[in-house]
Symmetry: D3
Subunit: 157 residues, 6 copies
Amino acid sequence: MAAHPPDKEHLDDHMVKMEVNLDDIPGEWLGYVMDLLFEAGANDVFYTPIYMKKNRPGILLQLLCSLKKVNTMKKILFSETTTLGVRYYPLTVHRLERTYKKVATEWGTVTVKEGIHDGIVVQRAPEFEECKTIAEQHHIPLKKVYEQVWHVMGEET
Amino acid sequence: MAAHPPDKEHLDDHMVKMEVNLDDIPGEWLGYVMDLLFEAGANDVFYTPIYMKKNRPGILLQLLCSLKKVNTMKKILFSETTTLGVRYYPLTVHRLERTYKKVATEWGTVTVKEGIHDGIVVQRAPEFEECKTIAEQHHIPLKKVYEQVWHVMGEET
Amino acid sequence: MAAHPPDKEHLDDHMVKMEVNLDDIPGEWLGYVMDLLFEAGANDVFYTPIYMKKNRPGILLQLLCSLKKVNTMKKILFSETTTLGVRYYPLTVHRLERTYKKVATEWGTVTVKEGIHDGIVVQRAPEFEECKTIAEQHHIPLKKVYEQVWHVMGEET
Amino acid sequence: MAAHPPDKEHLDDHMVKMEVNLDDIPGEWLGYVMDLLFEAGANDVFYTPIYMKKNRPGILLQLLCSLKKVNTMKKILFSETTTLGVRYYPLTVHRLERTYKKVATEWGTVTVKEGIHDGIVVQRAPEFEECKTIAEQHHIPLKKVYEQVWHVMGEET
Amino acid sequence: MAAHPPDKEHLDDHMVKMEVNLDDIPGEWLGYVMDLLFEAGANDVFYTPIYMKKNRPGILLQLLCSLKKVNTMKKILFSETTTLGVRYYPLTVHRLERTYKKVATEWGTVTVKEGIHDGIVVQRAPEFEECKTIAEQHHIPLKKVYEQVWHVMGEET
Amino acid sequence: MAAHPPDKEHLDDHMVKMEVNLDDIPGEWLGYVMDLLFEAGANDVFYTPIYMKKNRPGILLQLLCSLKKVNTMKKILFSETTTLGVRYYPLTVHRLERTYKKVATEWGTVTVKEGIHDGIVVQRAPEFEECKTIAEQHHIPLKKVYEQVWHVMGEET
């Protein structure tokens, strides 16, 4: 599956996972670092609590990015964290085809993202940010918004 | 809210949280201990990973039970874990009123548990075990079962 | 230490810790719930990963609030999470006296919060949000901002 | 070490680790997904709590399987979780030779699994499920069963 | 169970749990803080990874100490961590009676600590530090030492 | 970047990550195993709490080492843990150039390690062990030592 539109199902074998172990940085800086890495084009960034030497609670920073972003990510990691080394290795990502539908609720429409595998819809998820905006604007629980979207989604199947 | 039917909304102030720190027991035993504590009447049992002295990854076992179950729980904790001490303290639990509805799907009915706060339904959750049984028997994804239950739940509102 | 200005060192014994175990709610909702609880006046809100029955990764939601906020918090927890019960217990909080200083950097002033115990400054921390704003506006690493604040703080001792 | 009986010590370089980040799925579903993946032939499946964007507590699902199982695993991950992408990379596994001994206790025999490295027994572990069955049937602490097995194992060395 | 020798089974209701949330301190400092708290007489100290506001990975420091140690612990927490507040609440600890036995191995004797509940031995654990010293001095795996201690312990029952 | 002095910035592509899942070993043994692996030349060793099958809290042991250390590490893992298999995969590490400076405090000099990326100092960290020794010998909070080092570091820029 070489050249492909980004929203079609495909195997992406130009992805890299980068990792850093951190035991000498305060947690409040790490919230900020995550934002910077996303803004610079990381596909995902996440933290795992780890047990490091000398009884130190540490953090394992992991990020996923395309090969061509590796240097950009390194630059941020070296500038904004306290690490002296960054490790990385290649991996393959199988991505589903994505389509988007509109679902009408009493408070307005919500986008539902669908994931398609071998031509069959296997995922259907309301867009979180849209549901949240409705919940805030109408002063209703977020659950209520999801419940109505799920109800209407069912009708359309 | 003194005497009350157990399914009515009420404050329960005869509850206790018990805790044990464990760094000298294998994880496979702890899966079994959780079962024993539930069978003996614990309201909930859960584990948290903790960092203990000398670089030891440990487990904090916590359980919730009624005051009258404290001795039963102690007996299990002392017999089945490796601890030399059990600590505990009282707490209050605010429990919602619970009612149960039936929802019809194409694969059979599913119970939906409702939680009621001040007379208003604030929680509606399909019973997990029933959905799982349907998924297994009909060889369909669990998600599909939930999606249909959510759809039908919406109709009945 | 009965009546006291809120910024003086004092013991606060009108505080409550509230807790909820959650295994049937997606993580993306929980990011939102945390915001709502803070906005409604919680002193702190934090999540801990827990191991629950039936091999379920769950979340322990904990929050700290004053006694008079308990009902407000319950309302949010019942409306916005999936729980059928909320537990809580009282605790005492020893709070340091807080004062604020200004520190001049080449990019502008930064507030340093000080914590005072028995009349002695034991904590000195640059305000995170101000340092972050400087870092963003001047396109410099956050570390650089902290390093300069720490340097200047030292001079003033 | 090309062709080899599966219980002999060998290097297996046809193994793959697959990973999915999840922040929009309830924990109770994940207990079920783990079972499905094991039943379909995963060598191991495990969850790690991770910190994802927007303050979301998430779960990193990791599994190990042979190369030829990759498509089977993908199918389950796409059908039963909420992910739109699955990532994976190859790894090598060094497996010990395994042998099994029988140990006689007062409650019946227990299998002890041995791991052999370069011809030397380096691991000896009573089979957990057998010890658990004895504990349940004889109403004795699991610890007692292990203690007796360990005692008898020592005799036979 | 009022006055009691410390090694007899008893309920201790003069215990306190203290807690601090930390998101602005590096992990390497926390390894040191744990040592200081133990040296000053804490009964236990442990860390839990928590998710704090603004996407910050934080640490929940918990310690157990007797009521009369509360001020000593506060002093260390305020001096050595970055917190502006410490919270605490009382709890009860049920402690087993403790006795100590000697067990002879081929490399020397090892102390086995026993825990006694209602007159019955429910816990038997080789002292970790003694086993570790033997393993180091004799260049043998720690497992081997435990296996032999367990074997001999069984004989003496 | 083929042959290089170890303290110059370079890409190291002879590194390996090794992993073991553990659910049948007590935490106190794992503190010891970490020490052994470091002594034998591991570049880093760290533990992550994981959720394994049958409700077992487990530990993922990860270590980084050079290719030529793989057999040494395997030997320790098989001897000192309870695993029957070790998995591993290669990765690349980008290491910064390291230099060391001396900084004078009122209690003696402290080494500051600098990390250099593309000729620019991006990291500056006081050596933890030296700061800790000063704190212990002079009976001052560790924070005070760091604050003074940071202050003096700033002067020298």
